[in-house]
């Protein structure tokens, strides 16, 4: 079932056409397959996430979706430090360390689109002051940003 109506799809297609620069790989990590559902894994949410990503990827040939099983591709999951699913790893020219855990729907659909664009451009929409502060950070920072779709 399409999440996007034709009008919205066209708006996003145009935005991607004007704003995307480098190719973006969306690595989608899914729960175990084969009828085995581990506690805490929700296949329905993962399936919706898969459908949303694939519909978004259809709107630009610069976006590719790759699907991995958390267990069946354990080496890939480990490389990208993915432990929970569904998880999306955004890769542009490099891995900027941006992950999305869960279903990027509702208001968070915009987060998905903006993250794809930012990763493709390799820079965010931030001020020069912010840029210089971040460049001078003396230690690593891991941010967890908790959101809801409403």
């Amino acid at each position: 079932m399409p999440f996007l109506n034709a009008k919205d799809a066209e708006v996003i297609r145009r935005r991607f056409a004007s704003d995307l620069e480098s190719d973006v790989r969306l690595l989608l990590f899914l729960p175990a397959t084969g009828g085995l559902t581990l506690p805490g894994e929700d296949w329905q949410i993962a399936e919706y996430t898969r459908q949303i990503l694939n519909q978004v990827a259809e709107l630009s040939d610069k976006i590719q979706v790759e699907e991995y099983g958390l267990l069946s591709h354990g080496d890939v999951a480990q490389r990208y430090k993915v432990r929970l699913v569904p998880a999306i790893v955004f890769l542009g020219r490099e891995d900027y360390g941006v992950r999305y855990l869960g279903l990027p729907a509702g208001y968070e659909f915009v987060t998905l689109l903006e993250t794809i664009i930012a990763v493709s451009r390799g820079r965010g929409e931030v001020s020069e002051t912010t840029r210089s502060v971040l460049a001078a950070l003396p230690a690593d920072a891991h941010l967890q940003i908790f959101v809801t779709p409403t």
């Binding site: 502060v133 971040l134 920072a141 959101v147």
Partner: protein, 88 residues
């Protein structure tokens, strides 16, 4: 993207209740930095960056004090009580 030192997980809180509970997420957006500092709400960029820088450099007024005027009140709260405490 502006710094290789920063990694970001955006977490859909209702789908990962264990994480949300671990970090006492009652309102969104809630930002947790390095498991040690947190703040709630979408801050204006200068305030956000000041809170982030202070969390990373420790509590002290670092060299970043002048980068965002008036941002002192949004300093991220240090998580003192240990994660997973239910009595907070």
């Amino acid at each position: 993207m502006e710094s290789p030192r920063i990694t970001v997980d955006i977490v859909e809180a209702t789908e990962f209740p264990e994480l949300a509970q671990r970090y006492n997420v009652y309102a969104v957006p809630k930002i947790v930095i390095n498991d040690t500092h947190e703040f709630v709400g979408a801050l204006p960029e200068p305030h956000f960056i000041t809170a982030l820088a202070r969390a990373v450099t420790g509590d002290g007024a670092g060299p970043l004090e002048e980068t965002a005027e008036g941002a002192a009140e949004v300093e991220a709260t240090r998580l003192d009580s240990g994660l997973g405490d239910d009595d907070v």
